[in-house]
């Protein structure tokens, strides 16, 4: 079913992100049902040619995605120029083009010190006209242009279109997390890693952490190590996505709890000789913890929302 996945990938690319997954899953189940019916009729599994024929009849991905867009709007001057299938793309291209033009004009105005806006009217009108003309022609001849397509020529499947598994982002995040964990684990022995040359002044400042810091420090490093292990497993898809999300949520929850407890334990630094330096260090430390708590809480909230959304989608009838 590689061809079907490539087809759905092409449709998904053009759908609004919020409804993409839902629409694609529905299309997948409908098209699969049709393919199974056809295979049953023929009495043998479908060849790639037969699958391609079903997808071709289903419609060009651009037109299919266009029909799912909200609004069902079109552009008409007397007669319809751009139909609802292409109108969402027309609107997006037009908005992008006009925005870029306005940004450029804004930069030019700031650079030369006078408003360049009066002279922009003609280029803007021309842009609108040219883009409208292109889309009107495309709409008029879409039968000839968009209906002649071959599902076998669709782009290859991206290995991780769902963002789960070894993709550039997850590998980058894993490396950053690994470096961050090693860095944090080494800072007690080498304060230079955190403070740079300022570490040389630490003995003279007599700046000391409050006594329970080692306990929290150990918990933070342990949490980072646990997250590292979890990311390693998800990187290679050794854990089902849902289970990985639940474990991630648990870690975030523990992270937020540790962060809040740590925050409430302040002041974290004491210095009998330079109390103003200790106050500054406490402020910086407090802000850092608050930011870390906010990031963990946001991530935990997002994970909860994702899990709830999947559960709502998959719940059997009558359990909503």
């Amino acid at each position: 079913m590689n061809l079907l996945s490539r087809y759905l990938q092409a449709v998904a690319r053009l759908l609004p992100k919020a409804r993409r997954h839902d629409i694609i899953e529905e299309l997948r189940s409908n098209i699969l049902a049709r393919m199974e019916d056809r295979a049953e009729e023929l009495g043998h599994p479908l060849t790639e040619d037969l699958q391609a024929e079903i997808l071709r009849r289903h419609g060009n991905p651009t037109l299919v995605a266009g029909r799912y867009r909200e609004g069902n709007l079109g552009l008409a001057f007397g007669r319809q120029l751009i139909g609802p299938e292409l109108f969402p793309f027309y609107k997006n291209v037009l908005m992008l083009n006009l925005s870029i033009t306005l940004v450029i004009v804004g930069i030019v105005s700031l650079t030369v010190g006078r408003a360049a806006f009066p002279g922009i009217l003609l280029p803007l009108v021309l842009q609108v006209m040219v883009i409208t003309l292109i889309f009107a022609l495309l709409d008029r001849y879409k039968g000839a242009v968009l209906d002649k397509w071959d599902p076998r020529k669709l782009p290859a499947l991206k290995p991780n279109a769902d963002g789960y598994g070894p993709n550039a982002r997850s590998i980058f995040e894993f490396i950053c997390l690994a470096l961050g964990t090693v860095w944090l684990a080494l800072t007690p022995q080498w304060p230079y890693l955190m403070l740079g040359p300022g570490a040389l002044y630490l003995p003279a400042l007599e700046l000391k952490f409050w006594p329970r810091w080692p306990l929290f420090y150990g918990a933070i490093v342990a949490l980072l190590c646990a997250e590292l292990v979890l990311r390693f497993f998800t990187l290679f898809r050794w854990l089902p996505r849902r289970r990985a999300q639940i474990l991630d949520l648990v870690l975030r929850g523990i992270g937020v709890s540790v962060g809040v407890l740590l925050y409430l334990q302040g002041p974290h630094y004491v210095s009998s000789r330079y109390p103003e330096v200790a106050a500054w260090a406490n402020l910086t430390f407090g802000v850092s913890i608050a930011v870390a708590i906010a990031i963990h809480a946001w991530r935990a909230g997002w994970l909860l929302f994702s899990l709830w959304r999947v559960r709502e989608r998959m719940l059997p009838a009558g359990q909503h």
Binding site: I23, E25, E26, L27, S29, N30, I31, L32, A33, R34, D37, R57, H58, G59, L63, V64, R67, Y68, N72, R140, Y141, G143, A144, R313, M314, L315, P316, A317, H320
Partner: protein, 112 residues
């Protein structure tokens, strides 16, 4: 190239009646593909790329209710007529029958 005037008019004629057919058919629960088959069995062929987005639109308008459910080891989205949909279907049917009677009277005189 654009369709002939007949093709355009035929599509226009079908457009409104398809909604009525879909609403009527969804008095019994269906998922997209079985609905399409049920309509085709009654002689009303409909493109998948027209029917499936139409179901979404009708649901957004509150005329249909849907839910995901597992059937034959696959999750499918099942649609059925909502409470509001039943009221609208009744109104549309009255309108349709009224129009049908008028058209019958008018067309009785037409000789092609």
């Amino acid at each position: 190239m654009n369709e002939s005037p007949f093709e355009n008019l035929r599509l226009e004629l079908r457009r409104g009646s398809l909604v009525l057919a879909v609403l009527a058919q969804l008095r019994v629960e269906h998922y997209g593909y079985t609905l399409r088959k049920a309509l085709a069995d009654e002689g009303l062929e409909m493109d998948e790329s027209t029917l499936y987005p139409l179901l979404r639109r009708l649901e957004t308008q509150g005329l249909l209710a849907s839910e995901w459910r597992e059937e034959d080891k696959r999750n499918k989205r099942f649609y059925r007529l909502s409470k509001e949909g039943k009221v609208v279907l009744k109104q549309l049917l009255e309108e349709w029958r009224g129009m049908g009677e008028s058209l019958d009277r008018i067309l009785r005189e037409v000789k092609v």
